[in-house]
Amino acid sequence: MSGPGVLAAPGGRRALGETRHLLLTVAPGVLWLLIFLVLPGIYLMGVAFMTNGPYGQPQMPLTLDAFERLAGYGILGWSPANLYTLLRSLAQTLIATLLVVAISYPLAYHISTAKARWRPVMLLALVVPSWTNQVIRTFGWMNLLAPGTPLAGLAESLNLIPSNMGLYPSNIAVTLGLVYNFLPFMVLPLYAAFEKLDISQVEAAQDLYASPLRTFRHAVFPQTLPGLLAGVVLVAIPAFGMYVVSELLGGGKHMLLGNLVARQFGGGANWPLGAAGAILMLLATFAGLYVMRRLGRRLGGGDEVVI
């Protein structure tokens, strides 16, 4: 105890109050996550360093086998299979995210310029399909893209696909499924950003630059950047770990990292390898987040960008 003077000082009391405030607001959620997420997560990470038992259960002793397997070194020597899988996942995620962004910007803008009373309706209209389950939605696409359907016929007559093949199962179907699933997750934060967009800045920019592209670049883009980055986080990360869409619409032809990891906990029967794959996913994701954070700063979002 250093005497009542310190505690009574206005600054001290304030700091104490602030700490209590922090605890009051953040602690319940943080505790929840620590107990129900971090703890299980640590256990799983531990699994990555264990030995794979004869039928896929993790065993002692600790080893780096799983990581060697992940790098492609197996009982038969090195193979690039997992490397292909990783690159394919990255490419698929990138394409899907870019498409989602390209579609979402005009949509979010359109909603934000609509009459105020219609905006909730429009947002709802976008979100409602995703309230139905992704398994149901994906099943709907299976119906739409199968050989012999009008859409597949159209693609066939345009020589986009070999005859008789249909649009599903294929990589295109997977991309489509990803875009379909994650579109609302981009539109919502973008719309939130558009809604509080300072329109006077945009008008000033319109006077200044005249060209819509430059107006977008200098006035709209920086202001909507926090929403965009939030959207990218909400879209790219689940897309990177996607499992259901690639399983149902891809026909299992081209494995993604999510399928690779999932299979180790099921048919692949190699929990340590699956856990190592999960660590790889985390590393890739952290790298992506880091790049995005740097990007956000450089593009003028300042420190106040999502992360």
């Binding site: 199968a146 050989p147 692949g268």
Partner: protein, 361 residues
């Protein structure tokens, strides 16, 4: 007024307390009067469940899996103490026994065990039948569209030879051992091939096959049927009983389809009933297995599923369709059917590396 101040609190307490209970206890389970059955989807006649529930005055809770790996994953992760009866296929039986996930059967509680056909009394996958009782058996062959392939060969070449099928989409099974077996058979190594050389050759063939424009994907037996009827694929691998069941449900959709067992050899499988090591109610599990061993119940199961019955006593009650091909394969075909070998240790690792190579390329 204290009363009205108190009311909102009471209301929230009323909703919060049950919720809390719900969260802590999860679903209350392992009640004495419940049987937890973990089975393939739509592989059980509801009438049988009703009859069992009535006779023993219990409730049967059914859960479903779609593949062996899925079932094993669930068991490995706690399911071992949640289910009373599981229905794995022959080549997973040794794995389950060796990992201690299942318990030996108490044969004194299975009074109808004698009904099991001699062939299944001492099966290779479970010597002595100490852990498993057969449920149904069937074959995995090729289903195809007879309009597209009016002169289809009775051969794996329908899938693996690009000259045989240059233009139409086809699929192979998603279960590695099932598909590699087919490739092995086509290459002349036999459906139940093992060993690095045969597998490596089969894996190469499959990677080539994957590269063909008309390759539709990896599709397991039952969804493949649906895809066949919708024209998503024109040839694929599937099971004899499911084929008949689908055809019976939708005669129109399956009018121009056929099932065949390739002459190079194909899979014969047995699905079995086993009891997990920590089953909540193993007594009731034994009662259930014994119930299914009864002659008429066994027949009812097969009549519903369109699969051959391993129950000798059930034979008189079987529908006629069950006594002829493709449910009961011809003698020649029977000669060519093989069990999938149950792999372990290094052999399993080698196989899995090759199979993941096939999938990832």
């Amino acid at each position: 007024m204290p009363h009205s101040l108190y009311r909102p609190f009471r209301r929230s307490a009323r909703t919060a307390l049950p919720l809390l209970g719900l969260m802590l206890a999860g679903g209350a389970q392992a009640a004495d009067d419940k049987l937890y059955l973990f089975n393939w989807t739509e592989y059980m006649d509801p009438a049988i469940i009703d009859a069992f529930e009535e006779r023993y005055d219990v409730e049967v809770v059914q859960n479903y899996f779609n593949s062996q790996p899925e079932m094993l994953a669930k068991l490995n992760a706690g399911g071992v103490s949640q289910y009373d009866v599981i229905v794995p296929s022959n080549y997973y039986v040794p794995r389950l026994i060796e990992t201690g996930l299942v318990q030996p059967l108490d044969k004194t509680k299975l009074s109808h065990l004698g009904n099991v056909m001699d062939t299944f009394q001492d099966p290779g996958y479970d010597p002595g039948g100490d852990y498993s009782v057969p449920y149904q058996w069937g074959t995995t062959g090729i289903i195809y569209n007879t309009d597209t392939f009016p002169d289809a060969p009775k051969s794996w070449s329908l899938l693996f030879d690009a000259n045989e099928n240059p233009d139409y989409p086809f699929a192979v099974a998603g279960d590695g051992q099932v598909t590699m077996g087919g490739a092995c058979a086509y290459l002349g190594h036999g459906y139940d091939c093992t060993g690095l050389d045969a597998w490596r050759e089969a894996a190469k063939l499959l990677i080539e096959t994957k590269g063909r424009d008309t390759f539709s994907g990896f599709t397991d037996g039952t969804p493949a049927l649906q895809q066949l009827s919708r024209g998503v694929v024109h040839a694929a691998m599937s099971f004899n009983g499911d084929y008949l069941a689908f055809k019976d449900e939708d005669p129109e959709g399956f009018a121009n389809t056929a099932f065949m067992i390739p002459d190079e050899g194909a899979e014969m499988w047995v699905d079995t009933m086993m009891i997990p090591a920590e089953a909540p109610n193993s007594d009731l599990a034994h009662a259930f297995i014994d119930f299914l061993l009864e002659a008429e119940v066994g027949a009812q199961l097969s009549n519903y599923n369109y699969y051959a019955s391993p129950n000798a006593a059930a034979e008189p009650y079987l529908d006629e369709v069950l006594t002829q091909p493709p449910v009961q394969p011809s003698d020649d075909d029977m000669q060519r059917l093989r069990f999938i070998p149950s792999l372990s240790g290094d052999e399993l690792q080698v196989f899995q590396q090759l199979w993941s190579e096939v999938q990832a390329r």
